[in-house]
């Protein structure tokens, strides 16, 4: 069983993510946060294996929060969940240390697939993101990987 933390400032998105995960017993929601600061604190105390996190949040956004969490906990896998499809944002997400970039519009079908891929050390980018962008981001991150490892 894998433990996952849900971070989104919108309660109904957190509920939606929970509802999707309910039918997958291998995934257990260990906690929820509605802002980046709480997400960092809960990562310390709950030690989740994976985090599903919104990008646009008041205060610390999802990318800044990812950077902070990955500094202290490089083992935690982070999937960012967002409405935005811009190449720049995908690149920033991966540079900050995220392993997954999931669009809210695909979440229902793709959420568990994204989690399964990142937990197995892979990278996930929503199929709606331009293939060339996805390829260049993944290549860049793979080249960087030795730097990130311990």
């Amino acid at each position: 069983m894998h433990r996952v933390l849900i971070v989104d400032d919108h309660a109904f998105i957190r509920r939606g993510v929970q509802a999707i995960l309910q039918s997958f017993p291998e995934w257990e929601v260990c906690g929820e946060a509605d802002n980046g600061t709480d997400a960092i604190r809960l990562t310390e105390t709950l030690k989740p294996e994976a985090i599903i996190m919104d990008i646009s949040m008041p205060g610390l956004n999802g990318i800044e929060t990812t950077r902070e969490i990955r500094k202290k906990h490089p083992e935690v896998k982070i999937v960012l969940l967002t409405l935005h499809e811009t190449a720049e944002l995908v690149r920033s997400a991966f540079r900050a240390g995220a392993q997954g970039y999931l669009l809210k519009v695909d979440a229902e079908q793709e959420l568990v697939r994204a989690l399964n891929i990142v937990i197995a050390d892979g990278s996930y980018i929503s199929p709606k993101i331009d293939g060339e962008v996805a390829k260049s981001v993944v290549t860049e991150v793979t080249e960087f990987k030795p730097v990130h490892k311990n």
Binding site: H10, A11, R15, G16, A19, I20, K104, V105, E108, Q109
Partner: protein, 236 residues
């Protein structure tokens, strides 16, 4: 159908006192948001989500079929946005309470929401706190507006806003039907696809298109897209 509905007993002052569950239609193009909304809504005893729609057009069709008591509607949806869908639903079912749920706030949006016949408006960021209260208000034939909108309605709705005036005029130059067509064209649909979507002839769709371009003094599709974004008919 409408006349028959008017004499049905569940349409008394407080629908929660009737034995029939409150029927709610949820319209949002994001599956995950509909899931979350459904969970929040059905946690209340006596409330039922009778159907879900992914586009404004689907919402109108389902509302006509199922005659929900309350419609919870996102604004930015493909094919037909939530405002135009609300306008059509309000015409078909004047007694249904329409709740607009959106990420954005603007004074113009509040005006538009009131104008299309919606009686409640909340922000997605406040949905956790406000959704149940807003639906409850609608079920009791009351209105519910997010605090900022309520302030705006009290302070200045009847007063013309200096900056908003030119935009308001340009919006009113085209009819609701024409705005529907603007959205479809701005989404990249051809006249033929517009005709199929609206159940009209290609020739009528082309006439509408020519009228719109002339009225708005637009000369290309990219100008039309810019108009649609500027007037919040589609999102950028």
């Amino acid at each position: 159908m409408l006349a028959e509905r008017a004499v049905q007993p569940q349409h008394k002052m407080d629908m929660r006192t009737s034995t029939k569950a409150l029927q709610i239609l949820v319209a949002d193009d994001h599956d995950i948001i509909r899931r979350g909304l459904k969970q929040l809504l059905t946690s209340r005893p006596g409330w039922e989500v009778c159907a879900e729609a992914k586009t404004g057009r689907e919402a109108v069709k389902l509302a006509e079929q199922l005659k929900p008591d309350v419609v919870v509607m996102d604004i930015s949806m493909p094919e037909l946005n939530g405002l135009e869908a609300s306008r059509q639903i309000h015409k078909l079912l004047p007694k249904a309470g329409i709740l607009i749920l959106t990420l954005h706030f603007s004074d113009q949006l509040v005006r538009d929401i009131v104008e299309v016949g919606a009686r409640a408006y909340i922000m997605k960021s406040d949905a956790d706190r406000d959704l149940v209260s807003a639906v409850e208000a609608l079920a009791n034939r009351r209105t519910f507006f997010t605090a900022r909108a309520a302030d705006m309605l009290l302070n200045g709705f009847s007063r013309p806003v200096v900056g908003a005036q030119p935009q308001a005029i340009s919006r009113n130059r085209i009819t609701p039907r024409e705005r529907e067509i603007v959205q479809l064209l701005a989404e990249g649909k051809s006249s033929k696809e517009v005709a199929v979507a609206l159940g009209i002839s290609v020739k009528t769709a082309e006439t509408h298109r020519a009228n719109i371009m002339k009225k708005l003094e637009l000369h290309s599709v990219s100008e039309l897209v810019r108009y649609a974004v500027k007037n919040q008919i589609i999102e950028a």
